[in-house]
Symmetry: C2
Subunit: 343 residues, 2 copies
Amino acid sequence: MADPLKSPPLTCPSVLTAHEKIKGFIHVTPVLRCTYLDDLASSKVGAFKVRGAFHAVRRLMEEEGWEENGGRVRGVVTHSSGNHAQALALAAKTMGIPAHIVMPTISMPSKIAATQGYGAKVIFSGSTSVEREAKVEEVIKETGATLVPPYDHPDIILGQGTLGIELQEQASEMIREQGREKGLDAIIAPCGGGGMLSGTALSCEGTGIFVFGVEPSFGGADDCKRGIEQGKRIESVKSLTIADGLRTPVGVYPWSIIYERKLVREMFSVGEEEIKKALRLVLERMKVVVEPSAVVGLAVALFDEGFRRMVEREGGEEGWDLGIVFSGGNVGIEALRGLFPAS
Amino acid sequence: MADPLKSPPLTCPSVLTAHEKIKGFIHVTPVLRCTYLDDLASSKVGAFKVRGAFHAVRRLMEEEGWEENGGRVRGVVTHSSGNHAQALALAAKTMGIPAHIVMPTISMPSKIAATQGYGAKVIFSGSTSVEREAKVEEVIKETGATLVPPYDHPDIILGQGTLGIELQEQASEMIREQGREKGLDAIIAPCGGGGMLSGTALSCEGTGIFVFGVEPSFGGADDCKRGIEQGKRIESVKSLTIADGLRTPVGVYPWSIIYERKLVREMFSVGEEEIKKALRLVLERMKVVVEPSAVVGLAVALFDEGFRRMVEREGGEEGWDLGIVFSGGNVGIEALRGLFPAS
C-alpha cells in the first residue's frame, strides 16, 4: 500500500486531516454515558415507563390544592414488581416526594434493591392481585398517598405517548438526511396493558402514520387482538409467554383509544420461536441487550406473512418507512442462557 | 392520583404538552438504524477498524500514478480472519476497487460469509502466519494488488486515531451540557497491535489529555506493558486470553508512538475475571453487546487499584472526566454462554 515514508507525519493535525478524509464514510461512534457506572442517581433514564410516571407525578403536583392538602408529605403509591415500580420511585425521588411501592414477596431481589435504591419505601404483599390491591388500600389509609397505576390512566398514557413524538422527530430527520422529504409511514408498538400502544397511537393521530399493535400469541397473551375480533375487551390473561412484559390484559383507557376510537389500525401476534429468532438478531447484529418483550414488533415485521404482504401491497416498490418500538432491557445473562440453551 | 376526568383530552396535542412537561427529565431514546436488518450494504459502519481501512484506501488512491498504474483493477489485499478483513472489504467495495482477503481455512464461517458479502474475493490459506503471508505474496504476484496491513502502517494509525477526535468532541459537548467548560482529563484505549491506541494518542497530542493503554495480563498478552518495562518491543505473543482481539503483539509504528515518543503515559493490565466482571456490567447495565476485548479499559478503570489511586491523587475531589474506548462487538450468544457458564 501507500509507502509509509510518504504517509503524513504522525501528528494530531494529520489525524484531523484523516478525519476529514473518511468522515463521509463512517458513523460517528456514539459516546454513551452510563449513570449506573458513574454511580450517580441520575434523574434521566431511558425506559419508557418513566415517561408515564414522570408525567403522572407532574400532573398530580399541579392539581389544585395538592400542596395545601399535604401531597408533598403523603406522596404516591403503586403495586408493581417490574419497571413501573422503579419508574415511579425515580419520578417521586426527583420531585422530592415519598413513594410507597407494594411488591410481592417473591419479586426478584435485584428489582427490590433497585426500587429501594431510588429511595422508595418497599412494602411486601402476597402475589395475587387481590392481595396486592388490599395492601395498597392499607398503605393509602395509613399514609394518604395517591395511587399511580401502571398504565390504565390518561396521564400515564399521555406520558408514554411522548415516545411516539420523539420517534417521529428522529425518524423524519433520518429520512431527510437521505434526501427525502417525508415522515414515517407506520409505527409498530408492543401491547401489554396498552399504555404505550395507545399513547403512541395518540401521538400519531391526524399525521397519517399507521399504528399497529403487537402481542405474543402464546397462552392467549394476544388478548387485545382477540378482544377486537369478538368486539369486547378481554379482562384476564394467564399466559407464561417469554415476553413477560406483555402478559397483562389491555386496560380500559387504552382499549378506548385502540378499539373504540380505532386509532390502532390492526393488531398482530407472533409465536415464541419468532420472538427468540428476533431476539437473537438484535443481540448479535444490533448489539443491544433487550428482553423478549422488546422484540415482538420486530418479530412481526420480519416473520408475519400477513404483515409483510400488507407492506408489499401498500408500500409498493418503495416499501414503508417503518418505526418499531423496542422497549424493555430487563434481562440478565442467566435469563439469556435460559432462553438460548446449549443445543 | 389525578382524577382521570380532569386529565387533558386524549389527543395528539395533549401528548405534545406532556412531552414539554417531562422532557427535562428523560433521555431522548435513541432511534437506531440497523443496516443488517435493512438488508442494505451500507457504506457506513461503526467499527473502528473501518476507520483505518477507509483512510488507508483513500490515501492509496491519492498516490501519484495509482490510477495510471492500474490500481483500480489491481485493488488491495490483506490477510485477516477478523474485523480487518471485513473493514477492508467494505472500504474497497465503497471505492469500487477489488479486495483480496486471505483467510485461514479454519476461520468462522460467519466471518467468511460476511467478508464475501462485502464483495471481496476470499482466498484460503493455512493458519500459521508463514502460510498466510506466503499466500498474500502469491496473490500480489498474480493480481498486482497492494497490501493493506491491519495496524502497522501510518495511514491505518491515522485512520484509527479519528476515533479519538470524535470522542474528544462528543465528551466536551457532554461536559458543556453540565455547565462546565473543559474537555476530558484522560482517555483509556485497549492495545492489541496498537493501531487504535497509538492513533488515539496522536489525536490527544498537545491537548493535555492523558492517554493510557490497557491489555489483558493472561498468558503474557500484556506485551506492550512488559516491553516498556524492559525497554524493548516484544515481538511475539501466544496468549489465549478471552480478550481475543488483543492477543496481537504491538507493531513497530505503534510502538514508536507509544514508547519512543512517550505519547501514552502508562500501560495497565488486568486479569480474566475482572474482564468478565466488566463484561457482565456492560451487558446487564449498559445493555450493549460487546466482546471481552472491548471492556478491558473499563475493567482497569473499575478494578485496578493502581489506576484508581492515581485518579484519586491527581483528580482530587472532582475526579477525572475519563473517556473509555469500547471496541469490538463480535460476540454471539453461544460465545456469551461459554464465557458465563451456568454455575
